[in-house]
Every structure is written in structure tokens, then in C-alpha cells.
Symmetry: C2
Subunit: 460 residues, 2 copies
């Protein structure tokens, strides 16, 4: 296939505002602490003393939580929040089956993988069975960040290169190595010499006749920029739903030409499944599967244990073998029997409660309702996503499609006042990010859309 | 203070064998899989299929475990192992109080620190109260590796440098950045340009009139080597009991001149407390406290949650503030309410069961018994350590003090056959590493020493 030439941005689009650090989105402003009610102010003060000035809280008025159940979080004074934000408690807050399995295992055995115990192999087998046969091995870690960090090292040894291509708004984790390939974390600092970024696969601001071909051409150009400065290409690292870029899911399959281009250039395809994985997109268990792809390495984290800290890298055996020939890797907590119990219980619930099918059905219902709202309100420029990972892009002008991050912030806080939790995404922070627990039902979707309509109406 | 000149090694000491990768110590040889009993062989085969060839098991004959309680691990056929190896379940395997606290919290609320909830502030306050007043802030992570990785980034921003000094046998974690400062993980690969290593503070092989002065002089020389190649010094990173180097604890206080030298050169003192922390040395809650030091950054992990995956970096506020001015940091699972519950319960047990005092008392009893054994057996060249972290150095010749790693391996396996679990440490792998749960009593120590005597006798 001949890659389509890179298309220019819309001629009349305004110059992009400086990219926001992903941590600044929907952040509480400590200067407002004095205005909080006393109990919250006291917690904020204790937090400030213990955590220092850099730890980030959400919302103009932070949310205090004391209990979680299903799709709800509860506050200390009877407040109830519909959770349309948290993708970690993916099968539902404090799900009985997961809590019971983890509690039972905690009381029985918790050790490390240098001894033999069977539940971690059972879990590995069940998890790998959800992936293509070529992805036959797994290394357990504790977090998505550790998984990304390890995947980069494996990709380096597999390719003999050190250069990575990511998207301009990517976030892949918080270790030094993961931060280096996360432009959304770099703020005003330049990207390291071994990293090149491509624009998100965005057809709202940059229409494309063939998105797949354009994205592939941009990846190819980025690889060429790396090689031109003497950096050998190691891999393309992409989140299968481009979460922090602003949620770009359609059309399924568009990612395939870019992956082919990366492989043709000698690099690996590292699928970051921390966000789209474990059934969230509704259409597949994994984000890469929606695109018809077989990854070299799969990075997993957040929803894997429904909140129990665990992560993993699934790998084609040849890459792991090459890495292992010159490197050791041991993760003390990774793959411990409690993590395995949590992971098994999460798979039980995803299957037993048909949560992938629910994500598909509720996601379609929610997408349609949001598009209906969008048709009646020009401030909603675009509604997109897959399953229960949706983005609602807010614009100051439907013609120029200029981002309106201030409106996004006001709506997020307006929804919070109405007892609904969502977040923001995108380089400008103007995209509402909706990714609830996968047990979110149509009734919850309707509540969310009605409240968003009210919050928009409140804006005038 | 004028640093004492660096002393040469003992003139008649043999050339050191090539350093072993820390992961090769006491490793199972997969070629022996065919000789295992069928149930273990089946687990090894499943493990090999899922994990690939690089994951390391312990022992000539791997240990299968199904249950843990206090200082014991239990196998599937009634085997009982006295655990003198595992420092993660530091207050005892499956301790009731920790299991109950974690289970209760799992069923109530598990979310992240961008919302307000109080137990994480309570935990922060209690944990920081065990440290010097200057170390007043904390950032939570999920593992010791994530903590090291973050500490390196904070030290870089605080110092404006990138160079680190560590010990030759150091292990500080498994991320890319932590591996770079872990010579024990590098195998045959050269150290990165930003890393210099100094010999362990070893007076057994290299007697010193003033160990503190010599160690400081070696750190100063290492800093000079960094600066000579244009790398600005950022910090000295040391494990307060030099675990993977071979366990060097005495005399308490010897570390102080090196820390002063590091600070004089503009670097930070990063105290890796993953191993000595939480009371293990008996003499103090923290390894740095034994040396009378106030760290800039404290790296915590393994025993913090008795097996619940959690870690943290305690910091002087000024360094965290400087880091935060240009960097964000958020850790999804770090500081979640379940981790806080685990951490609080661990502190409860350390205090309620006086485990630090027990580590001191049992440690002294065990040290004396091991020294008694050593006096009767010239193959034991040295016995050392603090509290319940002891090293037993095995030598082929008491005069040359030549390491005998083969004997160490045979003894570790001989103890395993006798139902006792220990490990190995040191660049040559000839040092028995003893670091049981802190509820280890004198009777357990006696069992261990008697079995070690038998295993030595078996050797002839």
C-alpha cells in the first residue's frame, strides 16, 4: 500500500494552545482551600503537610469519599456520586467476588514467583487465552508504569534500537523511562532525543480520506526523523484507544498500516492496553484486537485487578527470550498469589456478568444519547469512542473547531455538583473523558446525559 | 575531616571471580526439571509455557507452597518450611490483623489520591513520625523499584546533576533507571556513563583502621571520576545494610562520613530502606538511623504492606518542591485506601508485638549462635549483620578468605531439604542471607543454627 501524503490541518484552524500537562486537567487549585467546608479543608491541610505541594487533587471543590459500590462512590454526608470516570474498579467498586477472592488468598498465602504455586499459572493461562496465539508469554509487574518500562527494555533488546514513536498527547506511565515517551507529562521540557511524536489520529480537526494511510505516513516520517539523527528505531508504542490524546477509536482497523510501517522499519508494536484492555471497548477484549492486530508486546495495568496493584507485559516468546539472554527481571510483588486471585476474579466477573457485551450495549446507548445532545448544542463539536470509553469534544466555535477547555472544566465541575464524576483529556484539555466501571447501565447513561444537558443549559 | 587514603585489598586475596547476576543466586536449573516429582514437574512445565525461559525459580528442587502462617510456609503434602528468607511478610505470613484490615478496606473503598479520604493521611502522619523531622513529606508508589526510580528523578532536579554513586554489588530495583544504578543486575554489561560504583564497606576482606573514612574516600574518588568525564554528581544511593553487597552493618555510624562527602560535592543522600527499614535491624526503625543520619530521600518498598504491593519516597520538602516545579507525578494505585490500611496495620503490629525489639533480641541470639558455630568451623569465615538481617560468609580457605559460592549453594539446598529457607548474597554469591519475618523467635533461631550445623557436617 502506498501511504497517502500527510494532510495539512484545517486551513482555518486556530494555532493550538500550549499543551497542558496531563496532571493539570481538572486539578484543584490549592488557593481555593480557604473556601472549602471545614471537614474537607482539614483533609486538604493534612494532605498538604504530608504530601507537599505537588500532589494533585481533582475538582474546584475536591470530592471526599468513604465508600464505593458498583458504579457509585459515596461521601461522608450521604453524598452519592455516579462514577463515570474510574476505569480501575472496572468490574465495579468493591465487587463482592473480587473482594472475597482477594481476602481469601490474603489469609492463605502471599509470596513471590520464585516458589511454585498454581493460581498464577492458572491466571496466566486464562489471560493469555484471550490474546492471539503468538502472544504466548507473560511477565507480571505491579503497575502499568512498570509494564511500560519493561516493555521498552524488551523492545530495545529485540530491535537493537533505542528510538520510540508515540503520539503527541501520549501518556504511558510515570517511571523515568515511561515519562520520557509520554509527551503529555513533559510540560515545557523538550522530548528526549530517542523519542518522536506523531499527531493523534484525529479526523475531527484534520479530516482524512484514509486515516490509516495518513497515520502510517506520519509514523514513517517520525521514524525517519529518528534515524536521521542516528537513533535506531525500536518500536511504536500506542494506546489502542488514544486515551490521553483525546480518545480516537474509529474506524476500527485504522491502526494496522502504521503497525505494518513500524515493523517494516525494524521496530516492534507495543500495544498499551492499560486503558482499552479488559473489554472496555465493547467490541473486543483488547484495543489491538479491534484493529485486527497481533502485537509484539502488550502492556497491562489499571483494571487488571479491579484496584489490586498489578500489571503485566504479554509478549511474543522470541522477544522475551532475546531480552532474557542478557537481562534478568524479577518483580517482588508481581504475580504473587493474591494478585493472581484478583486477576482470576476479574476475569470471572467480566465473563460471568458479560461486561464486554454490556460495555458495547451501554456504550452505544450513551454514544447515541450524547450525539443527540450534540445535535442540539453546537458547543459539542464531536462525540466519539468505543464501548465505555467516550470523548465529548467541546469547542468555542463549531466552524473553526477551536477548543474550549474552560467550558470543559466548568462542565466537569457542574457535573460534580450534580453528583456525577467524569474527567478531561486531550492536549488542550477540552475533551470530556467518560470511562465508567463496565457495569454502567443504560439508566446510568441516561442520568449522565441528562445532567450534562443541565450543566450545558446552566452555562447559558 | 581528612579522608583516610583508600586501602588496598589484602595482598594475598585471590582475584575476585566474575560478579554474579543477583538473579542467578540459588537459581533452579531448568535442565533438572525431568528429575522432579510429577506435581512439581507439572507446575514447572506450566510456568515455562506461560512465563518463558527467563523467569527464575529458587533451589535445585523448587519449593511448592500452598499456605503461610507466621514464620512458616507450608507445602501441598504436609511439608513445613521455617522461613528465614522472606522479608516481605515482615510481620509474619498472613498476619490476622493485616489480613483483616486489608479485607475490610477492600470491601469498603479502593480508589486513588485525587479524591480525599482520611486513612492515607493518618498513615502518612504515623509513618513520617518515625523519621527525622526534616523528612516531612511522602509520595506513595507501589513498589521499591518505583520508589527508587522516582527518587533518582527527584535527586536529579534537586542537584542539577545526573550522576549517581552506588556500591559494586548494589541492587536498587528493576525499572530501566533503577537497573542502571544496580551493578548486581548488569551482568556483563558496562555501567552507564552516569554511574560509578565503590567497593562495599567490607572489613573482612579489606581491613580498615577507620571504615567510615575509607568508605568516604572511595565515594569522593567515585564522584571525582564522574565529574572528570563531565557528569555532574546528583547523589549517593545506598542501602543502609548493604544487603546485596553481602550485608555490612558495623560499626553503626560508618556511613556518616560518606554522606557528608556526598553532600559536600553537591549531591543528595538517598537512603534505600527497602531492606533495612521497618525495624528489621533491631537497633532502629530505619537503617539510616543506625548511622545517625538524616536522609534527603528515603526509598521504601517490600515490607511496607506485609506483601500488599506498596512503596514510597519520603523526602525533605524542599527537594519535592523543586521536583514538582517542573514535573508532575501521579501513581494510580499509590496511596490508595487499601494500601494505607495495610500500612497502618503493619505499623500496628510492629508496635503492638514489639517486633523491632524482637528483631534485636532474636538477632543477637542468632548472631551469637552463628558465631559459636563459626568458631568451630573454619569454612564460616565471617558472621555479621544487625537485628534479623544476618550474613554468613563461606570461604574455601580461612587464610586467603577465598569465597566458596559452591558451598553456599549446597548449604542453601541442604537447609531446604531440612525444611528451612534462606538465600545467598554478595558479588560471589558465597554469603548466606538470613532475613526472616520479624516474629522469628529464639527457638526458630536455634532450629536454623542446628540445621546449618547438620548441613555443614553433611559436607564432611
Amino acid at each position: 500500500m502506498t501511504p497517502e501524503p500527510v494532510q495539512p490541518a484545517l486551513a482555518d484552524a486556530p494555532a493550538a494552545a500550549p499543551a497542558k500537562n496531563i496532571l493539570d486537567l481538572n486539578a484543584f487549585d490549592p488557593a481555593r482551600a480557604a473556601g472549602l467546608e471545614p471537614a474537607a479543608a482539614a483533609l486538604v491541610a493534612r494532605r498538604r503537610r504530608a504530601f507537599g505541594p505537588t500532589s494533585v487533587l481533582f475538582y474546584e471543590e475536591p470530592v471526599t469519599v468513604v465508600r464505593g459500590e458498583g458504579v457509585f462512590l459515596h461521601g461522608p454526608n450521604g453524598e452519592r456520586y455516579l462514577d463515570a470516570y474510574n476505569n480501575v474498579p472496572s468490574v465495579g467498586h468493591c465487587h463482592d467476588h473480587v473482594v472475597a477472592a482477594v481476602s481469601r488468598q490474603l489469609a492463605t498465602l502471599n509470596t513471590h514467583t520464585r516458589y511454585l504455586y498454581d493460581n498464577v499459572y492458572e491466571y496466566s493461562e486464562r489471560l493469555l487465552a484471550t490474546m492471539p496465539a503468538e502472544v504466548a508469554n507473560i511477565v507480571f509487574t505491579c503497575t502499568g508504569s512498570e509494564s511500560t518500562d519493561l516493555a521498552l527494555r524488551i523492545a530495545e533488546s529485540a530491535s537493537g534500537g533505542t528510538g520510540f514513536v508515540v503520539t503527541e498527547g501520549a501518556y504511558h506511565g510515570n517511571t523515568a523511562a515511561a515519562t520520557a515517551i509520554s509527551p503529555s507529562s513533559l510540560s515545557d521540557r523538550p522530548k528526549p532525543v530517542h523519542v518522536e511524536a506523531v499527531p493523534a489520529p484525529d479526523v475531527y480537526h484534520r479530516p482524512a480520506a484514509d486515516l490509516g494511510a495518513r497515520f502510517a505516513a506520519e509514523v514513517t516520517a517520525a521514524i525517519a526523523r529518528l534515524e536521521a539523527r542516528g537513533v535506531k528505531f525500536a518500536g511504536l508504542v500506542v494506546d489502542g484507544i488514544f486515551s490521553s490524546d483525546g480518545i480516537y477509536a474509529e474506524p476500527a482497523g485504522f491502526l494496522a498500516p502504521a503497525v505494518a510501517a513500524a515493523r517494516a522499519a525494524g521496530g516492534l508494536y507495543v500495544a498499551d492496553e492499560v486503558q482499552p484492555g479488559f473489554g472496555r471497548t465493547g467490541e473486543a477484549m483488547w484495543g489491538f484486537a479491534r484493529h485486527g492486530l497481533v502485537p509484539d508486546l502488550v502492556v497491562m495495568g489499571k483494571p487488571m485487578g479491579n484496584g489490586f496493584p498489578m500489571g503485566g507485559v504479554a509478549a511474543r516468546p522470541e522477544w522475551l527470550e532475546r531480552f532474557g539472554a542478557r537481562n534478568g527481571y524479577f518483580n517482588t510483588f508481581g504475580g504473587n498469589p493474591v494478585a493472581a486471585a484478583a486477576g482470576l476474579a476479574v476475569l470471572d466477573v467480566i465473563e460471568g456478568e458479560a461486561l464486554q457485551a454490556n460495555a458495547l450495549a451501554t456504550g452505544r446507548h450513551l454514544l447515541a444519547a450524547l450525539r443527540d445532545l450534540s445535535g442540539r448544542d453546537p458547543r459539542i463539536g464531536d462525540v466519539r469512542g468505543a464501548g465505555l470509553y467516550l470523548g465529548v469534544e467541546l469547542v468555542a466555535d463549531p466552524e473553526t473547531r477551536a477548543p474550549d477547555p474552560a467550558l470543559a472544566t466548568r462542565l466537569i465541575n457542574g457535573l460534580r455538583r450534580r453528583g456525577i464524576l467524569i474527567g478531561a483529556a486531550g492536549l488542550s484539555g477540552n475533551i470530556l473523558k467518560i470511562r465508567p466501571p463496565l457495569c454502567f447501565g443504560a439508566e446510568h447513561a441516561d442520568t449522565l446525559v441528562a445532567a450534562l444537558g443541565e450543566a450545558l443549559a446552566e452555562e447559558g
